[in-house]
């Protein structure tokens, strides 16, 4: 299972993405646990709205990071979460 530029990822229905003030970081909550998201992971997942594809998400993120190409990082994150059943396409 791998993501290409045209794939449209979305967070699994059972997840909830939010900011956590106590830890000052984004977290992804799901029934059996939590992922503490560091760096850009929270920002990437926030763009996974079930409408944008990987290329579009990467372009948005790229703007946050001064134009560098982040598609490879986006794909690594999505694939990692897909194996946990937290992201679907």
């Amino acid at each position: 299972m791998s993501f290409g530029p045209e794939d449209v990822p979305s967070l699994a229905a059972r997840t909830r993405l939010r900011h956590d003030a106590a830890r000052d970081t984004d977290v992804l909550l799901y029934p059996e646990g939590v992922l503490v998201l560091n760096g850009s992971a929270g920002a990437i997942l926030a763009e996974c709205d079930g409408k944008r594809n990987v290329a579009e998400i990467s372009a948005i993120l790229s703007q946050h990071f001064g134009g560098i190409d982040v598609m490879a990082d986006v794909i690594i994150l999505l694939e990692r979460l897909e194996t946990k059943g937290l992201v679907v396409k």
């Binding site: 003030a21 830890r23 970081t25 029934p31 939590v34 503490v36 194996t83």
Partner: protein, 381 residues
């Protein structure tokens, strides 16, 4: 896990034990033996405060449990408060009272996920273990959970009487449409400790169960996540209980007593504080009960100098107390514990070739009906 201040970890999960009343009588119930001491339940307003204080402490998950949490009529109000506070909420239910009306109210309130306990895959054994005709109602509740779009976890507490049905139980959970199956072996606290001889499986049973899980994982892949927690009596080392005392978890018992571990009320040498008297934050950070076994300074030999103490924290304090009488002792499950021979003896009994099956077990005594519960009905029985 990240720490805001070096001395105080940020808790992750709150187990809200709303009531110990329950229509079932499982012989492995982890509720305390002295159920009658827990009739003075917290009022709704206390729980609302606990939920807000929990969120402020950094807690992310709230598990509504019991006993049977749906016996509390204020459950939807509490779920709603949890949702507003940003907590991810999970209902842990025996599900015999989970009808459409209750389910719709909980969905409206924003409940995130549902975990239903089953005693077995088939009604005769399941009802025998539950001590009541529960199985058919649970099936309806599971279907309702799926229909209303919740993620469903099926939880089966495993013991000598149902462990031989692993292949059937796994198929059963799969057919219910569960995303997750927890096959959690009985932990020997509360009623389970009393019924240990009847419940502890043999090594051969355990081996077959493990093989069935491996087989199912290979067949079912991602469609059903299977969590298999084996009984620690058969492990060489203890479990890293609660990830360390007072490090990630809080339990609030029905009366408002706050515990570092759901079983900790059994430790009679410690005093635990109550949310009626103190804030959750003070209890977490400063109460003597929560600080008793934080860090390593309380450890005795052999834990104090053992290289594994940062991995398993010396095991479970409650088990240490219940088996050795000293909550600061090495968990007797550890093969390095001076009292490990006790565990070996019990294991030997579970594996004795001449054992007569099945051992009788003592059902959890049904809850007393005339109680001054602030809210809720007293169940269906």
């Amino acid at each position: 896990m990240q720490r805001k201040e070096a001395s105080h970890p940020i808790p992750v999960a709150l187990l809200a034990e709303l009531t110990y009343r329950c229509p079932l009588q499982c012989p492995y119930c982890s509720n305390p033996l002295e159920l009658a001491a827990y009739r003075q339940e917290l009022e709704t307003e206390h729980w609302l405060r606990v939920i807000d204080e929990a969120a402020a402490l950094g807690i992310l998950h709230i598990h509504f449990s019991g006993g049977e949490p749906t016996l509390r009529a204020d459950l939807p109000v509490l779920v709603d408060a949890a949702r507003k506070a940003g907590l991810y909420s999970n209902l842990i239910t025996s599900a015999t009272l989970f009808n459409r009306k209750k389910a719709l109210a909980l969905r409206e309130a924003g409940l995130d996920s549902v975990q239903i306990s089953f005693q077995a895959d088939e009604p005769v054994l399941a009802n025998h273990i539950a001590g009541t005709q529960a199985h058919a109602k649970k099936l309806e509740a599971a279907a309702l959970t799926k229909e209303l779009g919740w993620p469903l976890t099926v939880n089966v507490v495993v013991h000598r009487l149902n462990i031989d049905r692993f292949p059937e139980i796994i198929e059963f959970a799969h057919s219910l449409g569960a995303e997750r199956l927890e096959l959690a072996h009985t932990q020997y606290y509360g009623w389970a400790l009393r019924n240990r001889a009847a419940l502890l499986p043999s090594e051969e049973q355990l081996r077959r169960a493990d093989a069935a899980v491996e087989d199912a994982r290979a067949r079912l892949g991602n469609t059903l996540q299977i969590l298999h927690v084996i009984p620690d009596y058969y492990e060489k080392y203890p479990k890293p209980c609660m990830n360390g005392w007072g490090s990630t978890h809080l339990t609030v018992a029905p009366t408002g007593v706050v515990l570092p571990c759901p079983a900790a009320a059994a430790i009679k040498t410690l005093k635990f504080d109550n949310v009626r008297d103190h804030s959750l934050g003070w209890i977490w950070r400063d109460s003597p009960g929560f600080n008793a076994y934080r860090g390593e300074s309380w450890m005795q030999s052999p834990c104090a100098t053992c290289p594994r103490r940062t991995i398993d924290f010396g095991g479970c304090r409650c088990q240490a107390f219940l088996v050795t009488g000293d909550a600061a002792a090495t968990d007797p499950v550890c093969h390095l514990s001076p009292q490990h021979n006790l565990i070996e003896t019990w294991r030997g009994q579970a594996n004795a070739p001449a054992r007569v099956e099945p051992d009788p077990f003592e059902p959890r005594v049904a809850t007393v009906r005339r109680q001054p519960a602030p809210v809720g009905d007293s169940g269906s029985r």
